[in-house]
Structure formats: structure tokens, C-alpha cells
Symmetry: C2
Subunit: 364 residues, 2 copies
């Protein structure tokens, strides 16, 4: 079983990757700080995996809070139900919060852990591919604001991440594809060898080939761990992890949270970033075709929603966290495997990219 | 004009204390990170001091949000109106939040700064004695939960604190007394000389003698700065700043936020801590009388609300952030000027203390 380490000095932590991990108390228990645990999960995941996790935590006083499932519930209001549960169970400063679920559960449980009594420990047990390869690693936590994704949050590192690949067996195909978007991202921004591997093995991964999944998760987490170790608070290189995310967040906010999965919006967002990079003379048409093939093979959208025209995109993207003085900064590709953060692009080219990737509006 | 420094490495910051400071842009402007400022204030303070602050910030793009006034508005819901204002004004990661007001404004603006885009800079401009001597220094931010004070929050240090003593001229007497509670606290926990000074000068301070106020604010901030520098995240000595606060928070929560001012609850809370310390054999009756004289001279309550009986106190105190395994930990006094954190007290003595200080219930 691979164990990776996120190297952050006193905040370093292990990422365990493998099958059958939920049933191994020795992986979880050493990271529980006090005698109380609050498991935060959602209505989809609870019936599947909550019992197993509670069994592994049987030596502790366990409480649980079950959230509704979906990005549209990643709000301050739903966050408050976690605080209600923590207060109701008289949880203390040493209570450990366990996030059992996908990216939304992890982001919210992590943010609750960052804020409850000004910070309690937490453990990530991601149950979706997206959470296993991306959102559960690196300490970004938070909720959405109606006008912008992830606008309210904190950096709060987990004490451990336990990625049990068995949990992917119950994942919907659509969720698996959404996770594949973040896997492809690592290849595109900094790992050309991984891109080559994905050209060959992405279909096997989508067919849930155990070896392909295990390799992709480990390789993704290794990339993420290296970046986070180099730039915990995103003052530099960490921003490159946002390839496709500025376009993607605009789509998610613009059409309403939960309509598209995060990974779906990132999928077409990466293609748009590649397309703009080509228009700037950095990528070749063949490079962009390669990105489109990966996105398409992952069964992710290659067109943005019809209602998202240029003005709507720009309006939403200008509130992105990377924006400076209203100027949108984008992660672009100087080559496949070599991303760069830039605000030095021609808005006319951006308009071409957005127009070229917009689904044809239906005539009613 | 005294300038103290809170020594926290890269997070160090100055505390400016004096009169006429609001009108001096050179104190504020250097701490504004970007080109945008969001001033957070309340409906009482805005008509008095907002114009002066905006004038000192005239070189920046300024926005403002005016909160309702009172502890009962220190909630997640009202916090969200700050986020709405920040998003509505398209504030960015470099936007500086300025807290202009008392403890509630400072705690909420600071918490908004901790969370907005996972952290933006902020400046504290405290306009109450309580905020100038205590809550605006040290980086504790947050909101209340219906079941417990300050249960949701973050440590987020300001870039600067500007305590303009002129703002105290418009402060209600009741608010001045509430601030005096925190001033007395510093003497009791660690500064016997200051206690001696307070025995002599507390009345002058309450009469708004400018010299007495300036001395008390500087001495209080110096004590606070030393403690925060030694223990930023309250893993040790910082907890001693909570003298009277465990009893006090229970009162505030128990009778409803805003019914008593924070400083009023802390006033009787300190007296109760002194009384329990005497019952444990640490203080003499004369010591307790000295504490009661100070609390009384500050025109603070020396009796807790009639509805707060032993069971209610203990129920509410057991959710205090210092509690461990349900055991209430209290700041007690081994001598005047020498506080200690302890859970080693006899519950029967605690009951005696609570009973002895409870206002007589009215017979209806």
C-alpha cells in the first residue's frame, strides 16, 4: 500500500492509498487527537460506508452529521448545521472531525474544523476519485458564495488522508469522469510522462481497472503533494493547479451550483485554456487536439453551456481569487506538461476561445 | 504617541495609541495592501467616525458595510452580509478590511478577513475602551453560536491597530465601565503594580481623565502584547487572559447575547473567580474585597443574574473552549497579580461561589 507524505514541517501528514483501508483502525485511530470524533458525511455516502468507518473508530465517542448531497449545499447555511452538531454533542477543542465523502463534504468538514473553537484536527476519508486525487489533499477548505465558488474558506491541513480505492466501486460513472478531469490536469500542467500514460490508459481507468486507478491516484497525489509542499498558501506555483478552473468556476456559478459537476466544468475549462494557449502561439493544433481527446475520452463536456456567452464568462471570471485589479489571470499552457499563470493575453483571443467552445443555443 | 509592537515574526504589527490618530493617513495607508478597502463598522459608530476614516483612506477605492450594533448580531448570518458586501464590490485577495468599532465589529470584520478568499489583510481601528485594551489586539476573531460565545472563529492577526483615544469621548458610560473590566483583568492576572495604580486611579479613568485613560490603555496593551507574543494560539499562558470569562461567557449565553455587555459579565466573573480562589485557600478575604472594590468602582455588576443558578452555570461552562473531557477549566488567582489555569477545584466550592454571587430572584 503506497503511503505518500505531504511535507509541511509540523503540519506534515500521510496519504494512504489502497484497498480495504476503511476497515483498518490502525490507519485512522492514531490521528484522532482526543476522545471524541464527529464524522461529517452525506446522505449518499452514509448508507454505504459510515458503518465501516464507525467500526474502525469504535474506541472513541463517535457522533455524526449527514449533509444533503451536492454542490448546491456547499453553503454557509449548511456549514452551520455542522456547527450545530458539534455544539449539540459538546465537542471540545480536541475533538477530531472526520470527512467521509467527496469534495463537497471534505471542503465543508475541513472548513468547519478550521473554525470550530478556532481550529480542531481533521481527517480526510475521500470516497470519490476527484476527492482522492485532488480536493482532500492540500488543506484548501471552504464554501461557495452565490456570486463565486470557494470564496469563503481557510487553509487547514488534515492530519491524514485515507483514500480507499474500494469506495470507487459504488461511484457513478459521471462522478468517475469528473474525477478524471483532475487526473488529466496533473499531466497537462507538469507531468508529460503521466500525459503519455493517460493517452494509453485513460479508458482502462474509466473502466475501473484497479491497477490503472491505483496508479493514477498515486501519481496524482504525488504531483499534488509536491506542489503543496512547495507553496502551501498559493503565493506562487500552487496556482497552476487551477488549470481550467477559472473557466470552470464561472460555469458552475453561472448556471447554478450543482447543475454541472465541478470536474465537468474543469474538463471543458482545460480545453478552453489549451485553445487560448494555441491562439497565443504556445500550443500547436495537435496539442489542443490531444487535450480534447483526453477530455472527450474521459466523457467530459467539450463545449460550455449555451447560456454562457463572452460577457457572462468575463463578468464571473473577474471575481476569481487570482484576479488582480479586475484583470483576470489564467493558467495557460506553454506546452503540454508546462503550465504558466498569465494575465498577458489578448481579450479578443479570449472571446474567440469562448465563442468557439460554446454549445449552440437552442432555438425555441 | 506610544507605539507598541506585537512581536510575532513575519506577523508582527504595531499598536498606535494616542489622540487625533483617525485623521492621520500616514498611520493607516502604509498597511493597506492593495487598491481596495472595505470598512466594516456599525450603525452607532458610522455617523461619528466613518467620514474621518474614509478621508484618511481617500487614495484608495473605499467601500463600506454598516452592521447593526450589539452582541446579539455577532452571528454567522450577519457575517454573511460582510461577504455579500465584499463580493458585491468585487473585492480581491489584496483588498484590506478595516474594522472601525468595538469588539463585535472587530471580531466579525477580522473573521471575515480570515475567511474571505481564504484570507485578506485587515486593520483594527477600535473605538471602545474594551476593544482598545483587549479585543483588537491578538488576532482572535469569530462569531457566537446560540449555545456558546466565540465558538466559531479563527486566529488572524491584524496588520496594525490604531487606538485613537478621542473616540472614547462619545462612548456611553456603560461601555466605558465594560472596558474597565478588561483593564482590571490585566492587573489581577499578572501586573500587581498596575493593580496598585488602579486602586488609586480607577475613578479618574471612569471620569475620562485623559492621562489616566492613556496610561491604562498603554499598560493594558503592553501586557496583552507580551502574552500574545509568548503564546499566539493559546496553547499555554494566553489562557490566563480569560480570567472571569468562563463565568462571564456563561452569563452572556445564558441570558441572551446583548442583554449584558461582555465587560459586565467579565466583571462579576472575575469576582467569582477571586471568591472561588479564596475558598480554595489561595486568596485572603481582604484580597477578594480588593477585587470587589475594583469591580464595584468600575460600576460593574458584583452579582450574577438571578436566573443563573448552579446547574445553568455548569451546563453552559462545560462547552467553554478550555474544557477538557467535560471538565471545566478555570482561570483562578493564586495571589493578586498571579493567575493560574486549573481544573483542580472542589465542585462544592464552585457551588458556594455561584450561590453567594447570585442576585436574589424576585418573587412575583
Amino acid at each position: 500500500m503506497p503511503i505518500l507524505n505531504v511535507e509541511l514541517g509540523v503540519r506534515s501528514y500521510p496519504i494512504h492509498i489502497g484497498n480495504g483501508l476503511l476497515g483498518r483502525p490502525e490507519l485512522i485511530a492514531p490521528h484522532v487527537a482526543g476522545h471524541q470524533v464527529m464524522v461529517v458525511t452525506n446522505e449518499t455516502v452514509a448508507p454505504l460506508y459510515l458503518d465501516a468507518v464507525l467500526h474502525s473508530l469504535r474506541d472513541f465517542e463517535c457522533h455524526q452529521v449527514v449533509l444533503p448531497d451536492g454542490e448546491q449545499y456547499k453553503t454557509l447555511e449548511v456549514l452551520n448545521t455542522i456547527f450545530d452538531a458539534l455544539m449539540g454533542a459538546r465537542c471540545e477543542r480536541t475533538t477530531t472531525i472526520v470527512a467521509l465523502g467527496g469534495g463537497v463534504v471534505g471542503d465543508m468538514a475541513g472548513f468547519a474544523a478550521a473554525c470550530y473553537q478556532r481550529g480542531v484536527p481533521f481527517i480526510q476519508i475521500p470516497t470519490t476519485l476527484l476527492a482522492q486525487v485532488d480536493s482532500s489533499v492540500g488543506g484548501k477548505t471552504g464554501v461557495n458564495h452565490p456570486l463565486g465558488k470557494n470564496m469563503i474558506g481557510a487553509f487547514h491541513q488534515p492530519c491524514a488522508v485515507i483514500a480507499d480505492t474500494d469506495t470507487l466501486s459504488t461511484l457513478e460513472d459521471r462522478q468517475l469522469s469528473a474525477g478524471a478531469a483532475e487526473v488529466v490536469k496533473y499531466g497537462l500542467i507538469r507531468d508529460l510522462d503521466f500525459c503519455d500514460w493517460l493517452d494509453e490508459h485513460l479508458e482502462a481507468l474509466l473502466n475501473r481497472d484497479a491497477q490503472a486507478l491505483a496508479h493514477a491516484i498515486e501519481r496524482s497525489c504525488r504531483n499534488k503533494a509536491e506542489i503543496v509542499a512547495a507553496d502551501e498558501r498559493e503565493s506562487g506555483v500552487r496556482a497552476l493547479l487551477n488549470l481550467g478552473h477559472t473557466f470552470g468556476h464561472a460555469i458552475e456559478t453561472g448556471i447554478g451550483y450543482g447543475a454541472w459537476l465541478h470536474g465537468e466544468a474543469v474538463g471543458v475549462g482545460m480545453l478552453m485554456a489549451a485553445d487560448l494557449s494555441m491562439r497565443m502561439g504556445w500550443l500547436t493544433a495537435a496539442d489542443v487536439q490531444r487535450v480534447e481527446n483526453l477530455v472527450d475520452k474521459a466523457q467530459l463536456p467539450t463545449r460550455s453551456p449555451a447560456q454562457m456567452d463572452y460577457e457572462r464568462f468575463v463578468d464571473l471570471m473577474s471575481v476569481d481569487k487570482k484576479a488582480q485589479r479586475g484583470k483576470i489571470r489564467l493558467v495557460l499552457l506553454q506546452a503540454i506538461g508546462a503550465a504558466v499563470l498569465s494575465d498577458d493575453y489578448d481579450p479578443a483571443l479570449m472571446r474567440e476561445t469562448i465563442d468557439a467552445h460554446r454549445a449552440i443555443p437552442m432555438v425555441s
